[in-house]
């Protein structure tokens, strides 16, 4: 695991690479607030990256810079090896090309859904790209299949549940055939079953379709599903590693207002209070966590039964 700003260079060509990215907002009184201060990061094609950070850490600014909703004050963004964004104003063609390749799903699906019928909403993106009608039909059906919403193709969008709406929003992005999708706290407004469905969709798109995923979240158990966890704090890269590496440091995460999944938290508590209890190297789901504790107690000759 690396700390601070010394990112290791990936062997493969990165799909997204940012170098020394900085951005500051100006408030009404003209004071500058530095949201990002020199972040360098490279994300290989097909990786599932979770981005964590406290409120105001710069997560959403980072997402908006990648999607070119904002332009950096300093630093460069490369997509597939090509410089697309620097403080120099890029041309419109570049912006649109990047937004087609890097799609974005927002926090509230109501801000993203534009049509009143599900399939018309999904068709909105490809229509704007000038895709031929029969190709649009094919993409709409395939996108709705990918998110498990095909049977709702003719449903009224406003009558769907939050999780269903969010999956329609995802389908609308997939229909533009992006190579990468940024989820900006897209699960935060959903109920537990809506979250489960959206997380399954994300994993499917990543594993089966090879789409690069950048998932911004406050939910530690969602981050545990990623290949890699990037932690931002006060606009800087704070930690970068696999979920196992990141979550093995609860104190370091808590110092920046974050936490670890409950399974990890329990294992660390036991290491403190039970003589000889060892914390395993990798994250456990509920079942594995119980199995590990059971084995560890047997090894230590403790009976809790």
């Amino acid at each position: 695991m690396i700390e601070n700003n010394e990112n290791s260079v990936d062997i493969k060509t990165p799909f997204i690479e940012v170098r020394d990215l900085a951005f500051a907002y100006e408030d009404a009184d003209g004071r500058r607030h530095e949201a990002l201060r020199g972040v360098s990061l490279s994300i290989p094609k097909g990786q599932f990256v979770a981005v964590l950070g406290h409120n105001g850490s710069g997560k959403s600014t980072f997402a908006k810079l990648l999607n070119m909703i904002l332009l950096p004050d300093k630093g460069e963004i490369y997509v597939d090896g090509e410089l697309v964004s620097s403080p120099v104003e890029p041309d419109e063609d570049t912006i649109f090309a990047v937004r087609r390749r890097i799609g974005m799903v927002h926090q509230n699906p109501d801000n993203q859904i534009v049509a009143s019928v599900v399939e018309e909403d999904v068709a909105f993106g490809p229509e704007n790209l000038g895709v031929a009608p029969d190709e649009i039909r094919r993409r709409v059906d395939a996108s709705l299949d990918a998110v498990g919403m095909r049977e709702y193709a003719l449903a009224t969008t406003s009558h769907l549940s939050g999780g269903q709406k969010q999956r329609v929003a995802v389908a609308g992005v997939i229909a533009m055939l992006p190579e990468c999708i940024i989820f900006d706290e897209s699960t935060s407004m959903l109920d537990p079953s809506g979250r489960r469905d959206v997380m399954k969709t994300i994993q499917y798109l990543n594993r089966e379709r090879g789409i690069t995923i950048i998932h911004i979240t406050h939910d530690m158990s969602e981050a545990a599903l990623a290949d890699r966890v990037v932690v931002l704090s006060d606009g800087e890269l704070y930690l970068d590693g696999t979920p196992d590496e990141i979550f093995s440091r609860p104190d370091k995460l808590r110092a920046v207002a974050l936490d670890v999944p409950q399974s990890v938290s329990l294992l660390h508590e036991l290491a403190k209070s039970v003589e000889g209890f060892r914390v395993p190297d990798c994250i456990k789901d509920a079942e594995e966590c119980a199995e590990y504790i059971s084995m560890e107690f047997d090894r230590l000759g403790i009976s809790a039964r």
Partner: protein, 284 residues
């Protein structure tokens, strides 16, 4: 105390989109307790919450506040709204005044309190909600997300409502911000003896901060009881689109392996305590 008696509410009655959002719900919210109201999206939580302070009127049934039907004298609804404080989702979007202090004062000022009473209420509410003294003279728009949320909650607490209702008070906050706001609400409940109702999608937060839990599914009350009684019914919760905290799933998995876990299986601290009691603590 707030009691609901067989309340029902239908959206779009007599149209093709007719939907019974709340269907015959009877429920008592106890004083000095936090009740978690949980349910899948569209289960009727938000509709129910808007009926608690008379923002919408039930089609049938009664809502009793300290024994009196809140709709018996609709002209006195203003008084009901001072007594039942409602913090809506993302309440920071409702901040409007020039300073945080002025914003928190808005409610007590409308209640016709004197300057000194208002000052006292502002100080008290700011303490409960965790709004630092140094922020009171700032513009609410210069605060961070978590600070804005706490200022908005303080604005409702300043009316010193005997019933405090909060719709997703921790949504979108980072873990530290989440714990800070929820512990402030716990503090308000314990020191004022108020009836507190929290709507949330986070089973983890509900398990840590609530005394009682009520579960809505498709507009009907499907479970109610203490935190322990409700989270014991794991499979039923999953069936209505919810679940139990991960730590509770771990506890059940341990019990299937023959572990005896007494007491609290709803928080990490609780499970760790039972397990380390068996292990003989290094710090014991």
């Amino acid at each position: 105390m707030l009691q609901l008696e067989n309340i029902t509410y239908t959206y779009g009655a007599k149209t093709p989109f007719e939907k019974r959002a709340v269907d015959g719900v009877s429920l008592t919210f106890e004083d000095g307790k936090i009740t978690g109201l949980i349910g899948h999206t569209g289960s009727g939580k938000s509709t129910l919450v808007q009926m608690l302070n008379g923002l919408i009127k039930p089609d049938s049934g009664h809502i009793y506040l300290d024994g009196r039907d809140i709709w018996s004298e609709p002209k006195k609804m203003r008084d009901v709204r001072f007594r039942v404080g409602l913090v809506m989702q993302y309440p920071e979007y409702q901040l409007f005044d020039e300073t945080v202090r002025a914003d928190i004062s808005f409610g007590p000022k409308n209640m016709g309190l004197t300057e000194s009473e208002i000052a006292e209420r502002v100080a008290e509410a700011a303490t409960f909600a965790g709004v630092d003294e140094s922020l009171l003279d700032k513009s609410p728009f210069d605060l961070s997300g978590g600070q804005k949320r706490r200022a908005a909650v303080a604005g409702v607490m300043a009316m010193r409502p005997s019933t405090l209702v909060l719709d997703e008070p921790a949504a979108g906050l980072d873990p530290a911000g989440r714990d800070s706001i929820l512990s402030g609400i716990r503090g308000y409940c314990e020191s004022t003896g108020a009836t507190v109702i929290i709507v949330s999608h986070s089973m983890e937060d509900m398990a840590v901060w609530c005394d009682n839990v009520a579960v809505l599914a498709d507009g009907k009350l499907c479970m109610t009881g203490t935190r322990e009684e409700v989270f014991m019914r794991r499979d039923e919760l999953v069936a209505v689109g919810l679940g139990v905290p991960m730590i509770t799933d771990i506890a059940y998995a341990l019990m299937r392996r023959g572990f005896t876990l007494g007491g609290d299986i709803y928080t990490v601290a609780g499970v760790a305590k039972s397990l380390s009691a068996a292990g003989g603590g290094r710090h014991a």
